[in-house]
């Protein structure tokens, strides 16, 4: 079996992983990024809309352009990226990873590991939800923006968070019609400006509604929606049919924590972050020394935050390896944390900042021997 060696091994070549790679490599560390996909960039290349944020976060720049820049930075700094390679295991004792590369098994010995595996889409089960044409909104987004294939012409979107709103808009840009956005909550979840774009295109919102059933023989033919009560159960007699050929689900994401579990990390359960999230400190280091996390795996947020968390983990790993002095690292980290705080403020970000502080406080508690895993809902 082939055995590889590196100083910093990074799982995932998305926004967080590539940012971490650049920081660690630029500080002088040997870096290897491993990704199961055939192309690097993670979700960034699917994002054809202009990003929010500040100047430092390249606000107003389209996501795929940010991806191109990050990829160029990664190549320029000399971090190695290994594609078509799936990390299936981590041995926490000696930070060895098991990897399947192009169908062949290999081992990777690293001094530090940064897990930036991202998140996966949630699914909502209902009668008909296994019919072809029912898919995750992220899947539809990959089809239109990466593979240039229109999944359908008449779409019903479930979920009004930013993913549901953005993908609806992009489906219309790709030429489809979005017949409605179905949302269980009594209000729109995502940014009003994203909602505004699709309202101007005439798309109705069905708030306080759910999908009851999807009808069709071999594919989606019609979607039955109904009003819901406070417990999100559909109310008899409020049903309505929408003729459609595609149903997209944008009902949240959950962190891809498998490797962190396998490494033996301790977790909190934070529903606002998508479920179980590994504890980490401000260095992004988990409860397993030498294992760091960054991006959606630490709690589902968005690309700009993921990039900053990647920056933090990359700096911290380089510091731990002796490539950055404590003072240099402290200055870099303080600047990153300040930028992170600007992303985690306002009515949409304040909650995330609070949950992140809980998560980090629990890490401190664990170091004091006072931690018991908990569910943090408020």
């Amino acid at each position: 079996m082939k055995t590889l060696e590196t100083e910093v091994a990074i799982v995932g070549a998305g926004s967080a992983g590539l940012s971490a790679a650049c920081q660690a490599r630029n500080a002088g560390a040997k870096v290897l990024v491993i990704d199961e996909n055939s192309r690097p960039g993670g979700q960034l290349f699917k994002q054809i809309h202009k990003f929010f944020g500040s100047h430092e976060h390249q606000a107003g720049t389209r996501g795929y352009v940010i991806g191109q820049k990050l990829l160029k930075k990664t190549q320029d700094c000399g971090a190695d990226v290994m594609l078509n390679s799936l990390v299936y295991g981590i041995q926490p004792e000696d930070l060895t990873m098991g990897i399947i590369q192009n169908g062949k098994n290999c081992q990777l010995h690293a001094k530090k590991i940064i897990i930036a595996a991202g998140a996966k889409e949630n699914y909502l089960p209902f009668p008909g939800s296994t019919l072809p044409g029912v898919m995750g909104a992220g899947a539809a987004q990959t089809m239109i923006n990466v593979n240039r294939v229109l999944p359908g012409k008449k779409i019903v979107m479930m979920g009004s968070g930013n993913v549901g709103l953005i993908v609806s808009y992009q489906l219309m840009q790709a030429g489809a019609d979005v017949l409605g956005i179905v949302e269980g909550a009594p209000k729109i979840g995502g940014y009003g400006v994203h909602a505004g774009k699709i309202r101007r295109a005439g798309v109705p919102f069905y708030l306080g509604h759910t999908i009851k059933q999807v009808y069709g023989k071999d594919c989606v033919e019609a979607v039955e929606i109904a009003k819901v009560d406070e417990k999100f159960n559909s109310i008899e007699g409020t049903e309505m049919m929408i003729e459609a050929d595609t149903v997209c689900m944008a009902v949240g994401l959950n962190p891809m924590t498998e490797l962190a579990w396998m490494a033996g990390c301790q977790f909190d359960f934070i529903p606002a972050f998508g479920g179980h999230v590994p504890l980490h400190d401000w260095n992004m280091e988990t409860t397993i020394p030498g294992v760091y996390v960054a991006g959606d795996i630490t709690g589902v947020e968005e690309a700009s935050t993921a990039m900053e968390e990647g920056n933090l983990a990359g700096v911290a790993a380089a510091e731990a390896l002796g490539y950055l002095s404590e003072q240099d690292a402290a200055e870099k980290k303080a600047a990153i944390v300040e930028r992170l705080n600007t992303l985690r403020c306002g009515p949409f970000g304040e909650g995330r900042r609070k949950f992140k502080e809980h998560q980090i406080a629990d890490m401190e508690a664990l170091k004091r021997g006072e931690f018991v895993g908990r569910c943090i809902e408020k």
Binding site: K50, S54, D177, V193, R200
Partner: protein, 176 residues
């Protein structure tokens, strides 16, 4: 379906939300000529509009979740902010455009594009066609980074209502 007013219920700002929005200019200013109308009513972390303005007419301040504030006297209506707003929430309105007509410049990111002189369905914030619009200009500057800015003439009485145009049928999509 939609019973309550307001952006979180309808997806577009209510009259009240627009009245108290610091990015929306006064009626008097709109009657004087071209001016930016920044319909940004939610505190999201975003500030490219402020740096886009060459006149320094848009300010957000240190805290990037602050709502953009428009200095309507400084604004010349150049429209550089329109394509910079990732939320596509900025238009330039001119109620002094001409005999009974107003003009509106709005961002548009669908294909196909209309051509100068075309008549299109001008739509409200809710996407309802409210009147016909006459296309004055279709601009695709490199600085707009893929967002087209369309100038359209409409009857002046619809200047507060119209915010975009109806998508044109896309011949590239079979059966659409």
């Amino acid at each position: 379906m939609i019973e309550k007013e307001g952006i979180i219920y309808t997806g577009f700002p209510s009259k009240e939300e627009l009245m108290s929005c610091p990015g929306v200019p006064s009626e008097e200013r709109m009657k004087k000529g071209r001016v930016a109308v920044i319909e940004c009513v939610q505190q999201i972390p975003c500030n490219p509009c402020a740096s886009a303005c060459p006149m320094g007419a848009i300010t957000i301040g240190e805290n990037i979740t602050n709502l953009p504030h428009l200095n309507e006297e400084k604004c010349t209506g150049c429209g550089l902010c329109i394509a910079k707003c990732p939320g596509l929430a900025i238009t330039v309105v001119n109620k002094a455009f001409g005999e009974g007509e107003a003009s509106i410049d709005f961002p548009f990111e669908y294909l196909p594009l209309p051509k100068e002189g075309d008549f299109v369905d001008a739509v409200s914030r809710a996407g309802e066609p409210v009147c016909k619009g006459r296309i004055l200009k279709v601009k695709n500057l490199a600085a707009y980074a893929g967002t087209t800015v369309i100038s359209m003439a409409i009857p002046v009485e619809f200047a507060d209502t119209v915010r975009s145009m109806k998508r044109l049928p896309n011949p590239a999509v079979e059966g659409a």
